[in-house]
Assembly symmetry: C2
Homo-oligomer: 134 residues x 2
């Protein structure tokens, strides 16, 4: 199967698939004309990568997950630990974003948003708030 078909099948852009080959995540065969040739196994790996990346795992996480996936004797505890760590990072990011959200919503609510120059948002960014909340 050519890269175009593999791309449609996996939902990953052809460029991304080539990149994954470059960094050693997959190693498709080659036909005589030099075109990449993807087997069912390759397609499964691509689908695996697509899901793992979609769930926010880094490329290096994916590399490990893929090797665990292929190692039929691995302990599920390893995978669970990685996923827990990843979940902790996600939770942290959500908290960070929520903090930003609260501060910014607060500023937006204070701002008239008309054609006058007074702007509590810029004042807040400049540090001119009373409670030092920003």
């Amino acid at each position: 199967m050519n890269i175009g078909a593999a791309s449609i099948n996996s939902g990953l852009p052809a460029k991304t698939i080539r990149y994954y080959e470059d960094i050693g995540l997959i190693s498709p065969d080659r036909t005589d004309n030099g075109y990449r040739d993807f087997s069912e196994t390759h397609l499964h790996k691509l689908a695996f990568l697509s899901r793992a990346r979609g769930l926010g795992f880094t490329i290096e996480d994916c590399r490990i997950l893929l090797s665990l996936y292929e190692d039929t004797g691995r302990a599920s505890a390893d995978v669970k630990a990685m996923t827990r760590e990843h979940l902790a990072k996600i939770a942290y990011k959500i908290e960070e974003l929520k903090t930003m959200q609260i501060t910014l919503s607060d500023l937006v609510n204070k701002c008239n948003g008309d054609d006058r120059p007074e702007c509590p948002i810029l004042q807040g960014l400049a540090g001119g708030n009373q409670q030092g909340k920003i």
Copy 2:
């Protein structure tokens, strides 16, 4: 004021301040020996940048915000619109992360996490789930 002091004052690493000068966000003076010389105004700008970046605005957002900040005749509506857009992106990212969180928590809960090889997390990533939830 030297870059070291400006760094402590603003909370931004010296490297970052140099980078901000490179990309034209600030233009500190220079003393005779070639050292950067930061005035109070520069420190205010750095503090502004530090807060804006801390609230997740991109560098290009910051460039615009800084120019709006310096334009005493600007309409607050412009700033409010930018901030609203930014808030929308934050909300979107939070949703994305929450979706990942739910899926991953679900998989973690299903996984025994012992030394046996059966691992619902890897199965989920491989696409072997019933409801197609992943």
